[in-house]
Amino acid sequence: MHSKNMILKHPLSVRIFHYLLVISFVPLAVTGLILYFKPFSESTMNLTIRVHVIAGILLTFDALSFFMIGYKRVVLFLSRVFSISGNDFKWFAVLGGYPQKLLLHKKVPVPPMGKYNSGQKLFGVCVFIGGVILIFTGLALWAFPHNLPRGTVALLGHLHTIAAWALTLFLCVHIFLGIYMFDDFKAMFLHGKIPYEEAKEMAPLWVEKEIIPLPKN
């Protein structure tokens, strides 16, 4: 059902960034897992790392270009995900009410959230820090493993593995909840908008403080 009152949650620049993120990070995660477990033949492993490198370059350019073109959005996103309040602790105490909703079909009181709920904020922090780590360590491991100090490269390798595992595991949760919250999923992949009613329920502080009604034509 399509609500008449829609709110723009994901502008086009964010959606393009996200499309590119999807088509780069998903292959990176899959090929990364293959590279970690090494199950295939030599030529397949080589093909795997080539895909990994290409996807890594795409991810890097995606991140760099979004940072340059959508600098204000990046700053806004960071200020949102790095802001912590008492509500975040309360949200985590009930895990946003999702386990109760999914497993017990029960609704529990959830503290009011802004544009991003506490789980999304944590994911945002992880994506930002983990993404920066993955990009820089990945570049070093690809191009300079032989002419950086070996201890440094070993450390970069461990950081790359840890960040990749963290983001890949987080990605599984992100995809599941993204599809579960289908209106948000459609907003991110299609038109950028979510129904006003849903926004009011899921992100009341955002609606209350930041949303301005547009005059009707």
């Binding site: 590279l35 090494k38 033949s41 030599e42 030529s43 492993m45 080589n46 795997t48 790392i49 080539r50 990994h52 490198v53 491991l141 690809w142 191009a143 300079f144 493993p145 032989h146 002419n147 950086l148 100090p149 070996r150 201890g151 440094t152 490269v153 070993a154 390798g157």
Partner: protein, 425 residues
């Protein structure tokens, strides 16, 4: 391990280095350090080593960020069992580069010179001391004399004393086992250019089991020689079947009867020796300095500098100067061959006192053969080399940065300043 290795003689260790497949990330870092392209496996796939191409230099081992390469030959427990055998005299042949590196394994600052402590720890372990600097001096006398003979043959047509054939110029040094194997497997036509002198390690083994047998009052077969080296390729060198001079001497000259034995029984790297000390609860850092009262611990400054790039050449120049001119050098330092430049060259003009003529000797020093050797070799092959004597050490900076040294977290790749490499295949 490749069981159909084609470039080894019977008895030789077919490749001292292997790669642990479960640790290898396929990052290709090792390939940039391998002098022969012996590391196989595409980028992203687990790598392995082609033992026929491998020189056993261990540069992949000391530079791999993830510690995937390892040594296939480990004699630490064998040495300990020999030390526990009252019938055996264990002799440790200590290379010059070991004493400035082993301290790191015991928490001492990098570069600490611990000769006295090392002697003390060896004494405590029950190892007789044979300083390889002693035979480095022998080597340079042999190698220097051989060069003079080749040079006089080339310039003045001088014949060998006993009519023996005299090798061509340029003469290459022969104390680096990785370099010798490189010539044998990659450029066999250059074998006559290699000095015929054995390496200090092999001279030490032969001396220990001949003259040393009298010093220690033991038959040669009860003397167990261990090369203590900064180098993994020395393990390969010691296993070469031709290195049984002491056995041949004892059986043919002294008519002794025994089973064949090698001049050097086993080789421990600097890392191996540190492990041996730790197993025997010896803390080298806490050892008192000890000075052995034995001829085999006497040596000159020429022997001492052998482990550095240019060290053999500098020592050779000192010897050649004394022999050719008939005078001792007043300033023994020969600085043009020092430093970390990939190829260093110098010219020395000397007056040959025997022929009363001036001769100019062109010298070159090459280290890090993976990057620096090819242009020098190509000139020699083309017959256009300006050099008469060329020192080659496989490892960047020389033995001091050998594959058997303590593994530095800072690595050593900066020595060669290898360019970035965007791995793909």
């Amino acid at each position: 391990m490749n069981v159909i290795a084609k470039t080894y003689q019977k008895g030789e260790i077919p490749g001292v280095i292997a790669i642990n497949a479960s640790v290898c990330k396929g990052c290709d870092a090792c390939k940039r350090h391998c002098p022969t392209g012996a590391i196989t496996g595409m980028f992203g796939a687990t790598h392995s080593i082609d033992v026929d191409l491998c020189l056993s230099c261990g540069q992949c081992l000391v530079n791999c960020p993830f510690g995937a390469p390892y040594e296939t030959s480990d004699a630490v427990d064998t040495v300990i069992s020999k030390l526990n055998d009252a019938n055996v005299t264990v002799v440790g042949i200590i290379a010059p580069a070991v004493r400035v590196a082993i301290g790191e394994e015991f928490g001492m600052p990098a570069g600490s010179l611990v000769t006295g402590k090392l002697y003390g720890a060896m004494k405590k372990a029950g190892i007789e001391i044979f300083d390889n600097n002693f035979t480095a001096d022998l080597t340079i006398m042999e190698e220097g004399s051989e060069f003079i003979s080749r040079a006089r043959h080339a310039v003045f047509g001088e014949k060998g004393e006993n009519g023996e054939p005299i090798g061509p110029l340029p003469q290459f040094t022969s104390c680096c086992p990785a370099w010798v194997r490189f010539v044998e497997t990659q450029y066999p036509s250059l074998i006559p250019h290699l000095s015929s002198a054995k390496s200090p390690q092999q001279m030490a083994g032969a001396v220990a089991k001949t003259y040393g047998a009298k010093v220690w009052g033991k038959p040669a077969e009860q003397i167990y020689t261990i090369g203590i080296m900064p180098c993994t390729a020395k393990k390969f060198e010691a296993s070469r079947p031709e290195f049984k001079s002491a056995f041949e001497y004892q059986t043919h000259i002294n008519k002794a009867k025994s089973e064949t034995y090698a001049d050097v029984d086993v080789v421990l790297t600097t890392r191996d020796l540190a492990r041996l000390f730790k197993k025997m609860k010896i803390d080298l850092a806490k050892e008192q300095d000890y000075t052995p009262e034995i001829l085999f611990a006497e040596y000159s400054g020429a022997g001492t500098i052998f482990g550095n790039t240019g060290g053999v050449m500098e020592a050779a120049v000192r010897t050649a100067y004394a022999v050719i001119t008939g005078n001792e050098l007043t300033d023994v330092e020969f600085k043009p061959v020092r430093g970390l430049k990939g190829v260093k060259s110098a010219s020395v003009t000397l007056k040959d006192s025997k022929y009363d003529k001036e001769v100019t000797i062109n010298l070159a020093v090459v280290h890090g053969i993976a990057r620096n050797l090819k242009p020098v070799i190509d000139q020699v092959l083309a017959g256009t080399s300006p050099y008469h004597f060329i020192e080659v050490m496989n490892c960047p900076a020389g033995c001091i940065n050998g594959g058997g040294q303590p593994i530095q977290k800072n690595g050593s790749s900066w020595i060669e300043a290898i360019r970035p490499w965007f791995a793909w295949k």
